[in-house]
């Protein structure tokens, strides 16, 4: 076990038809940006989608150089100074109580966070 945090891979679309070749395609479309915004849970305006489509295209082109040197024989580095098996004593310590946790909640009922409907109409 390596006790370091790895960013989560976002599941789902979009898929790259050239995935096996590790080619970088910078054909960013507004539809893709709209989809990414959905995955990232940000309600972008149409104006934001338009400017991000343009910027993301430029950025992706600029960062594409990484794939040219990332050959199969180079191992990845996910963590600059890796530590393995970071354990602590299995004792309860430094726990915030419910009241402390809820003080900054936008809405709560005294013991739980309160949110609006979890299921949408389509579900």
């Amino acid at each position: 076990m390596i006790a370091t945090s790895h960013p989560l891979r976002t599941p789902g679309e979009p898929t790259n038809p050239h995935r096996d070749k590790l080619e970088i395609m910078s054909d960013i479309t507004a539809e893709q940006v709209r989809h990414l915004a959905g995955l990232a849970r940000i309600d972008l305006s149409e104006a934001e989608i338009a400017s991000l489509t343009l910027e993301l295209g430029q950025i992706v082109e600029a960062v594409a150089s990484v794939s040219s040197v990332a050959t199969a024989d180079v191992p990845i580095t996910s963590h600059p100074i890796p530590l393995v098996n970071v354990y602590r004593e299995d004792v309860v310590a430094d726990v915030l109580d419910t009241a402390q946790v809820l003080t900054q909640a936008p809405e709560h009922d005294g013991s739980r966070f309160k949110v609006s409907a979890i299921l949408g109409e389509e579900q």
Binding site: P7, G12, S65, S78, I81, V115
Partner: protein, 502 residues
């Protein structure tokens, strides 16, 4: 004692020990200075004089009773708003955390409190530390004390400007790609990014967890060392925290000596793309070190040409993951869409309203880089570049003790100048980013003013992982040599800020 704000933290500690002044007096002097100039500088997002003075009073009582906590007990400092504090709001420069009060203190904040230091307030920063100018703060930019129309660097422009404007003797900062060192460069101050894992990040609002590091910001190398000694060391709350026994950084400064020190000049960071005045001051500093016994050689880090690209894949990828916690459920802002909506719609409306343009840009880019089908080509390849950069450093450090470069290609630019071109701003991070990719420590300290614009220039030193003390050795030595040559400190040449302006 007069002009208390002009003294370094080390000098204030001596004055407090001798009884020449009190913590209340020193703290009040800095609060007065903040009240007088921060309208123009805007280094602080939050100041609470009552809380600061209560801490100062407690320090004076301890000193009277003869049981001070640390040599620096009673000396005030500023805290970057990325660090959570129980007695002041912590926003990380974002609207989504406006007014948010943390139920716990960051470990470094706990450590400075346990050493008796007096928090003056929280300093401004680019939103979630994304930026190199502080213009991406949701609360308005900080102004460079050398020229109020120019950027103070970023993301930690607030901490650097506070220190440069004599609003605090030193401060805490965070450095993910240069956010401590580049502001130091453009404000004529000192900043250190410690070895990854050398200082706890517990309670630092995370940007990119494999790059983030907390470190000191000050006007002198010794003051950074004193603060580093207080905040460094293992923390069981941070599983990336190293268990090393660290030597005293302050001792490294006090015993500074560059005789026989081998300094490698990074050829990729010396020439094209760098402002003439930046290069001129950099080479003068190297010549001074050489004249005093150091050996200067040229080294090449060929993978550096891919470092910025790799960084701007790794950072957004990790940030998009870290910033998923701002979900409008547990803390922070909640925006209900007109006519209501599901929790996901509330979340999306909140994040649209609560995040600024640069944060959205990087979250979308990070989400793209982590998407199925693109993951290997982007995030995977960037992590391989990281290996190549580390290997380059390993080869270089087999032959030299420290590496040197200008801290950034240019001096401070005008506010607004690069705001419409995110890539231009990102490219300015070329010299500072490699240290974060490799996890090694780096320091920036002032080496003079560029002849073409009269603005500060910094030199950056890099050392192998766990050899932070080498930075304090070479930095301390160079600082004394320069001040001996100039006959003054660089900051004493900064224009006088009009008190009460704006």
């Amino acid at each position: 004692m007069t002009d208390l704000i002009r003294h370094t933290a080390a000098e204030l500690a001596t004055a407090l020990a001798s009884g020449a002044t009190s913590s209340v007096e020193v703290t009040q002097a800095h609060l007065d200075r903040i009240a007088a100039v921060d309208g123009a500088v805007h280094a602080f997002l939050h100041v609470n004089p009552e809380v600061s003075l209560a801490a100062a009073k407690a320090s004076d009582a301890r000193r009277k009773a003869g049981d001070i906590l640390n040599a620096l007990d009673g000396v005030p400092l500023a805290i970057k708003d990325v660090l959570v504090t129980t007695d002041m709001p912590s926003t990380s420069g974002s609207l989504i955390l406006q007014g948010w009060m943390s139920p716990y203190d960051a470990t470094v904040v706990t450590k400075i409190r346990e050493a008796g230091l007096v928090p003056l307030g929280k300093t401004n920063m680019d939103e979630f530390a994304m930026g190199s100018s502080t213009e991406h703060s949701a609360y308005g930019p900080t102004h460079n004390p050398w020229d109020l129309d120019r950027i103070p660097g970023g993301s930690g422009g607030g901490s650097a400007a506070a220190v440069a404007a004599f609003e605090a003797p030193f401060a805490l900062g965070s450095d993910t790609g240069g956010s401590i060192r580049q502001p130091a460069h453009v404000t004529g101050t000192v900043g250190v990014k410690p070895t990854y894992g050398g200082v706890s990040r517990y309670g630092a609002i995370a940007l990119a967890s494999s790059l983030d590091q907390i470190g000191p910001v000050s006007r002198t190398v010794l003051d950074s060392a004193l603060l580093h000694d207080i905040i460094g060391g293992h923390d069981r709350h941070d599983s990336t925290s190293l268990r090393d026994e660290w030597p005293s950084m302050a001792e490294a400064v006090r015993n500074a000596n560059v005789k026989g020190l081998r300094i490698g000049v990074v050829s990729e960071l010396d020439g094209e793309g760098f402002q003439p005045g930046v290069l001129a001051r950099f080479h003068e500093a190297l010549a001074l070190l050489e004249a005093n016994g150091a050996e200067v050689v040229e080294v090449s880090l060929p993978s550096l040409q891919y470092a910025v690209a790799a960084y701007y894949l790794i950072l957004p990828a990790e940030a998009s993951s870290n910033l998923a916690k701002y979900d409008s459920v547990r803390f922070g802002m909640r925006v209900n869409p007109v006519g209501g909506g599901t929790v996901e719609q509330v979340m999306a409306a909140t994040r649209e309203a609560g995040f600024g343009a640069e944060v959205k840009r990087r979250i979308i880019l990070g989400t793209y880089a982590l998407s199925a089908g693109y993951y290997d080509a982007y995030y995977g390849s960037a992590q391989k570049v990281r290996t190549l950069v580390q290997r380059d450093f390993d080869v270089a450090f087999a032959n030299v003790d420290v590496l040197a470069s200008p801290t950034a290609p240019t001096t401070a630019w005008k506010l607004g100048e690069k705001l419409d071109d995110p890539m231009a701003m990102w490219r300015g991070d070329i010299a500072t980013i490699p240290a974060n990719l490799a996890g090694i420590p780096g320091m920036s300290l002032p080496v003079g003013l560029a002849q073409e614009d009269g603005l500060p220039v910094g030199i950056q030193f890099l050392a192998p992982a766990r050899a932070d003390h080498r930075l304090y050795n070479v930095g301390g030595a160079l600082e004394s040599l320069l001040e001996e040559k100039w006959g003054h400190t660089l900051l004493s040449q900064a224009p006088v800020l009009m008190e009460g302006a704006r």
